[in-house]
């Protein structure tokens, strides 16, 4: 039996204005090392679609909306590869000791790249306002 893909529609990314920030939930479960973002609350029914080795989107099959994200190997891999997300780990409720352990695993070169990326974003924003 060949494996199947049950996604038969193009999922829709909601506009930022459609999201009530009070309903957005960040959650982390240490047992599975998975971070969840639910931008319409946790009650929305969702089916998961992997879009990357570790990142999946949560899709409500009734509305065809993308209603959240789940990131696997979040502390083991994701924040180590993407150190710019380390501060976000606190929002997910990750234990500060685990955050510190992940920080120690980050290669200095990668941390520099993340810091530079963040600085360049800041420069870009400031430059746009400065010349506007």
């Amino acid at each position: 039996m060949a494996t199947q893909n049950f996604l038969t529609f193009q999922p829709r990314v909601p506009e930022l204005e459609e999201v009530d920030i009070n309903n957005v939930e960040f959650r982390y479960t240490k047992g599975t090392d998975t971070a969840f973002v639910h931008w319409f609350g946790r009650e929305r029914h969702a089916i998961i679609l992997d879009i990357d080795d570790h990142i999946s989107v949560r899709i409500d099959p009734a509305t065809q909306d993308i209603v959240g994200l789940q990131i696997e190997a979040f502390m083991e891999w994701f924040v180590v590869e993407h150190p710019e997300f380390l501060p976000v780990a606190e929002q997910f409720g990750v234990d500060p000791m685990d955050i510190e352990a992940a920080r120690r695993k980050i290669e200095p070169q990668r941390a520099k790249v993340a810091a530079l990326g963040s600085l360049l974003d800041q420069v870009q924003d400031s430059l746009q306002s400065a010349v506007a």
Binding site: R44, H45, I48, D53, Q70, E72
Partner: protein, 114 residues
């Protein structure tokens, strides 16, 4: 919940996993817990977990009403050796519906159709 999978390996789902890893983020499974056992006992596909060498993921085609929408139910199991009996026991770490078999997972077994 405790059951034997298709290959008679004992698999355990604890209340902690059910409440904190499954229902907490996959509300769609509320009232559909029996599907987890069905998936373990009669899967359509079993794949090796990408990140855990002792992990295997069981997939079964299911339908969640309403509205009716087919998908796989993915049940993630990690196997451990029981210290005293030496028995290989599977622990369900999470379960959720998925549109497809994860692309980065290597299929270990899949049901043959006649």
């Amino acid at each position: 919940m405790r059951c034997d999978d298709r290959w008679s390996q004992p698999i355990v789902l604890t209340d902690d996993s059910w409440l904190n890893h499954i229902l907490a983020d996959h509300d769609i499974l509320d009232g559909n817990g029996h599907l987890i056992e069905e998936t373990l006992v009669d899967p359509d596909v079993v794949a090796y977990d990408r990140d855990h060498s002792n992990g295997e993921n069981y997939y079964r085609v299911v339908s969640f009403p309403p509205p009716e929408h087919e998908s796989y139910l993915k049940v993630c199991v990690r196997f451990e050796q029981n210290q005293t009996s030496g028995e290989r026991v599977g622990i369900v770490v999470t379960a959720y519906p998925a549109f497809r078999i994860k692309r980065s997972e290597k299929v270990k077994w899949q049901r043959r159709t006649s």
